[in-house]
Structures are given as C-alpha cells and as structure tokens.
C-alpha cells in the first residue's frame, strides 16, 4: 500500500505539473457547479426549446469512448496477442475513466441531483422496461462494474506475482463485449426512440453511433499504446498499431457511408425534416446557424482522417497517422457534443428556433469533469504500470517518472 502512495505522490516535475493542472481544472469547475447547484440550470444556455445540450453531448461521446476502448481489445484477445493482459488492462482502465465521466455528465445535467437514488432499483422506482434512460443507467453501471472487477483482479494477480486465472478473466471479458455494444446501442435508442424529434428518430442512428465510436476510442488507444511502449516494457509491434489504424479506416469509411445515406435520404426526399440538417450546416430563415462551423469542421476532419487512414503510406507513417488520430478524435467529439444534440432541438417541436451554444458555466463544469476523468486515468495507469511491469522494470523511480509522460501523451 505504501508503494501505491509513493507512485501517486512521487513523480517528476512534469507529472506534478500535469496533476496540478488537472486539479486546477477540477477546482475552477467546482465553483461553477456550486453556483449551478444553488441557482439552477439557468446558468447554462439550455432552455425549454433546447433542453439537453453540451453536458448530454459529452456524455454521449464518452459512452462511445468507453464502449470502443473495450471493443478494440477484444480482437487482440481473440487473435491471442502476446501482451494480451496489458492491452486488456489499459483498454478497461480507459473504459472505467470514461464511464465515470459519463455518470458525472448525467449527474450535472440533472435538475435534482440529490434525487439520483430514485433511479436505483429497490429503494427508488426505475421505469422498466419503457424508459431508455433507466436502461442506460443500468447498463452503464453494469459495464462499469464488470470493468472494475476485471481490472482489479488482473492487477491483484500481478501484485501477488501470479498469473491471472483465465477462467475468471475470459468470461468477464466476453461478457463485456455485449455490454460495450449495449451501452452504446441503448444510448443511441435514447435518442432514436424520440418520435418527437425527427432528426434523431432514424433507425440508422445506433449503427452510426457504433461506427463513430469505433473510430474515436481506438484513436485514443493508438496514441496511448505508442507512448506506453516507449516508456515501459509493454511490447506492441508496429504491425499491431498499423492494424488498428487499418480497422479505423474501415470504421470511418462505414461511418461516412452511413452519414451519406442519411444525407441522401434527407436532401432527396426534401421533407420538413430537412430543417434540422439545414440548421446544422447552413442556417434557417436567412440567419446563419451558430453551429454550422462545427458541422463542417466535424465533416471535413472525418473525411481527411479517413483518407489518411485509407492510404497505406500515410497510415504507416507515424506523424500522419497521429495527425489522423487527432482529427478523428476532434471530429467525433464535435459530432457527438454539438452536431448530434443541438440540431435535434432546432427548430423545436413547435417550429420555434432557439440558438443554443454552451454557456461559460457549462464549459467550466465540463472541463472539471474531464479533469476528474484524466486524473483517475492518470493515477490508475501509473499504478497499473507499476504492478504489471515491476518484475521487469529497472527501478521504481524510473517508472514513476515515465508514467507522467504517458499521461502527457494520452491527453492529446
């Protein structure tokens, strides 16, 4: 235990700065949340017309990251790569951090957060089976628990110097596959089940969620793996990284295809429902849309990243590949954070237009939640690196220092 404290509290200057930066993010956001808690959600720019905004957008994005982080490690497991346990551990750690952020984003979006217990079966009254939000809370928590159990067990085995028991790990990893698909599908259904919002009420929404998540999650892992293999004895070959990049090209290609199918249907049929796409990319009633810039940014980044990952020369060049990963991350973040939610509400169900963009309070609270997630991830990765590689490591101090670099890299 003492060693764990050392890993957490002792590190290089870069590590201290990184943690201080995260703590600063968290603290400034706590102030913002305190005023939201007392004054209400009026400090956000959400209103009756646009009743979900940036918070729920972030939640949706992070569900994708959580789901795909594990879905990516599944093939690694199935093809029986040698460093399988390390890959699983880091994928699941990312999933844990992402789910914690998801739950925090839902919490800050609630008008009465102290009543969260109303959603807990037994003491509360979750509306099963008809409420998708109730299902979402259930699968997210189940997924969180499975990942925590696997990670803790793997690390505990490593801590005791024993090999993990595959009879415990493999069923849980296999269980996490349908759960990973489940959390994202249920989140998509939360939107696509809303007959009142034609922009979301499309059966293609769930497949689009999965396709875009299979781009964004691996984009994070791609960078994380490169850093990890530099600073720890974690073995991952170039081939493996390029394979992931190739999978991302397919996922992004499929994502763009699904998006194109949606665009074709809307513009060719040219019904009243087209207004939401018009608002996303252009504007309505002669007024430019404040989110059009995000709509185009996301689309252009997706296409450029797709080309980078499609062409073998740029895919195999680490510089262009990392640029591609960055573009994908930004593109999916903007798509889920802005382009998914806001046009669904604009115009609203009675045809009225309320031009929503996130308020400073929303940005500050979101920043604090990302700070919390990154902090959890940083600490977990440092402990995990120590426990997994301590037999092979040269010295404890070296790892502690290096782990700071891991974080600096993964935060991109």
């Amino acid at each position: 235990m003492k060693v764990i404290f050392q890993i957490i509290f002792k590190g290089s200057l870069a590590y201290y700065l990184w943690v201080l930066f995260l703590l600063a993010c968290i603290i400034q956001g706590l102030f913002s949340y305190a005023s939201q808690f007392t004054d209400g959600l009026i400090v956000t720019h959400m209103r009756d017309s646009v009743s979900w905004g940036y918070y729920i957008g972030n939640f949706t994005f992070l569900v994708g990251v959580a789901a795909s982080a594990v879905m990516l490690v599944i093939p690694a497991y199935v093809y029986n790569w040698k460093p399988i346990k390390e890959v699983v551990v880091f994928g699941e750690l990312l999933a844990v951090a992402a789910i914690v952020m998801c739950l925090l984003f839902v919490l800050v979006d609630m008008g009465r957060p102290e009543r969260l217990w109303h959603m807990i079966p037994g003491i509360g009254d979750p509306n099963f089976p008809s409420s998708l939000m109730a299902w979402d809370a259930l699968v997210l928590n189940a997924y969180l628990m499975v990942n925590v159990v696997v990670v803790v067990y793997l690390l505990w085995s490593a801590y005791q110097g024993k090999h993990y028991n595959p009879r415990i790990v493999i069923p849980l990893v296999i269980l996490s596959i349908p759960l990973a698909v489940g959390i994202h599908t249920v989140t998509a259904f939360l939107y696509s089940g809303m007959a009142s919002r034609p922009y979301w009420n499309a059966s293609i929404l769930a497949p689009r969620f999965l396709a875009s998540a299979l781009c964004s999650g691996p984009a994070v892992l791609l960078i994380l793996f490169q850093v990890l293999r530099k600073i720890s004895p974690f073995e991952i070959k170039d081939d493996a990284i390029h394979k992931i990049a190739e999978l991302m090209a397919y996922a992004m290609g499929f994502n763009l295809f699904l998006f194109g199918a949606e665009i074709f249907k809307e513009y060719y049929s040219n019904t009243h429902h087209l207004v939401h796409y018009e608002y996303l990319f252009f504007g309505l009633d002669g007024k430019p849309s404040p989110i059009a810039v995000y709509g185009w940014l996301s689309l252009i980044f997706s296409v450029v990243a797709f080309l980078i990952f499609l062409i073998p020369a740029t895919r195999k060049n680490f510089i262009t590949m990392n640029i591609g990963a960055f573009l994908i991350y930004v593109s999916v973040y903007v798509e889920k954070g802005i382009a998914l939610i806001i046009p669904g509400y604009t115009p609203d169900t009675l045809g009225q237009i309320y031009a929503y963009t996130p308020s400073m309070a929303e940005l500050r609270v979101a920043c604090a939640i990302f700070g919390t997630g990154f902090l959890i991830f940083t600490l977990m990765v440092r402990v995990a690196i120590y426990l997994l590689f301590r037999q092979e490591a040269k010295s404890g101090g070296g790892i502690a220092e290096d782990a700071a670099t891991v974080e600096a890299g993964s935060s991109i």
Partner: protein, 304 residues
C-alpha cells in the same frame, strides 16, 4: 519494501479522515435541520402512489405548513382523486381563436407558474393563412398591437393529455403518469429533472424550472392540488393538468372560462350528452401530429 503492515502509520490517519468526514456530514445535516425542520422528511420523500392514506395526509399537511410559512397566508394542498366514469376531453375552435392570449395569462394566474422567469403552459402560435397549419411558419413570440392580424390565424398549443403519452414512457423514475380521468400528472417531489419528458413531448407542453420559481404572495392562488398547481420547486418539470384543481370538482379550466370568443370547450368524453361529444360528432376535427400516434384528448376543430 514492506507493502502491508498493521502498524502502518497511514491507517491511523485514514481513521482520522473518516472521522472528520462523519463530523462534516453531521454538521451539514444539523445545519440543514435548522434551516427547515421539514427538509429531511422532504429528502426522504415517498413516491406519491406508494403513500399510505396517513402518509399522504401527513405530507399534504406538511406542504400546507411550508407554503403558509413561505407565502405568509393560508394555503390548501389537496390530492383530489380522479372521479369514476370521467375521461376529460378538450376541444379548441381554431376558426374562432383571435390570439389574444387571455388563456395564457389566466392559466398562469390559476396555476401558480413562476412570474420571473416566466413559465407559460399555453403557447399561442400565430400562423399564416396561406401556409395553413404549418409549424415551420408559426410564430409563438408574435408581438401585436391588435389581434387578430390580417392574413393570420391563431393556434394555441398546450398539453394534449395524450392517451399514449411519450413523456410518461420516457421518464426514468415513474415521476409522471396518466391518471384514470386521462390527466397526465407529475409528482414534483419525485421528478429528478433529467428532462427526458421535455424532449419526448411532441407538443412543447412540458416546462422545466431552470431556476427557483418566483411567485409573490399576493399572486398566489391558495387552492392547490399536490399533483397540480401547488408552487413548484426549482429543477423539476411542470405542465398543464386541465386545471385538475377545478376540473375534478366539476368546474371548467381557467382557460375555458376566460376565452372571450368561446373557442375553448371542455367536458367528459364518457358522457354521451356532453358538449365535447357533440363537437366531436358534428365538426371536422384536426389532431396535432396525428401520425405520432400519441392519441391526444385535445381536439382542434373548425366551426366555420
């Protein structure tokens, strides 16, 4: 390096930390009790439908106490149940409505909506004669010197009390439901403020308390229903209940009563001799967003 030991100095510190956390929690609870003697029992609230008759009576009395203290006048909070053999229906004559918004303001006064920020349960849409009933050419924020304006007609929208309500389906905690007389109600003490229902409603009928509602004592209507027009807390959703505090006692909703042109009709759909059934039989009926299969009990019609 020794990793685990019972004499680890950290364990002592940990105990201290836990102790101080408990102290903090106790202090918080204590100050909370001082602020309001009823706040703890409000936190550990029971869902309306699971309250025993004694518990319900106690809860209503508690709220009467709190409101009377807050507004410095007597306030009644009842929980009148739906009457047997009653299913409420509403009809609105689009050809008569002149867009004066008297219904909007009567509703606000009757149902204790927040005055600042303003919450209104009825939205009157101004539409163009040439476009017909088309929400893309509707303006809820028209500012007219005189109504009705030329080439315009008016289309008020409020909760349609759907037979198949999308809002009820979406609520994660069963805080909203359809009562036997067809009125969709909300338990303000159970609502978590997630706004799934606001998103699910195709009629923009649900309104969220984005901040603490403001209602002056002299503006308060003291005859309130627990699931209806009692003053709402911050952070929960509210909506039209066909003025259940009136309707369940045999009176017309405030909007029906105030309408200067008689465009609003209200009655019992199960009573074959009711005015609402006469209208449904003898006029052309328009259902807003009929294709969504929400099956509203709010019918638009055209008498001329």
């Amino acid at each position: 390096m020794k990793e685990r030991s019972d004499t680890d100095p950290h364990s002592v510190k940990r105990r201290d930390v836990i102790k101080s956390l408990f102290a903090l929690a106790a202090t918080y609870t204590a100050t909370g009790c001082q602020r309001d003697a009823d706040s703890l029992s409000t936190f550990f609230h029971t869902h309306f439908k699971r309250m025993s008759p004694e518990k319900l009576a106690e809860t209503l009395a508690r709220w009467e106490r709190r409101y009377s203290k807050r507004y410095n006048r007597e306030v009644n909070v009842s929980a009148t149940p739906a009457q047997d053999g009653v299913l409420f229906g509403y009809a609105l004559d689009v050809s008569r409505c002149i867009g004066c918004r008297r219904c909007v303001y009567a509703c606000v006064e009757e149902n204790n909506q927040s005055r600042d920020p303003q919450i209104q349960w009825i939205q009157v849409l101004e539409m163009d004669n040439k476009h017909g009933i088309d929400l893309r050419h509707a303006d809820a924020y028209y500012d007219a010197e005189e109504v009705p304006r030329e080439d315009k007609f008016y289309f008020p929208v409020q909760c349609q009390q759907c037979e198949n309500p999308a809002c009820v389906k979406s609520c994660p905690v069963n805080a909203t439901w359809k009562d036997p007389d067809g009125i969709v109600v909300i338990d303000y003490e159970w609502c978590v403020g997630c706004r799934c229902c606001v998103t699910a409603c195709p009629y923009g009928a649900r309104h969220f308390n984005w901040t603490k509602p403001n209602l002056a004592s002299e503006q308060l209507n003291p005859e309130t229903e627990y699931l209806g027009n009692r003053p709402r807390p911050q952070g929960v959703v509210e909506k039209c209940t066909f003025c259940m505090q009136r309707a369940r006692k045999g009176r017309y909703p405030a909007c029906v009563e105030v309408c200067p042109v008689g465009a609003r009709k209200f009655g019992n759909l199960l009573d074959p001799k009711s005015e609402i059934n006469y209208i449904l039989k003898n006029h052309r009926i328009y259902i807003l967003k009929e294709e969504l299969n929400t099956q509203p009990k709010f019918f638009y019609y055209f008498s001329t």
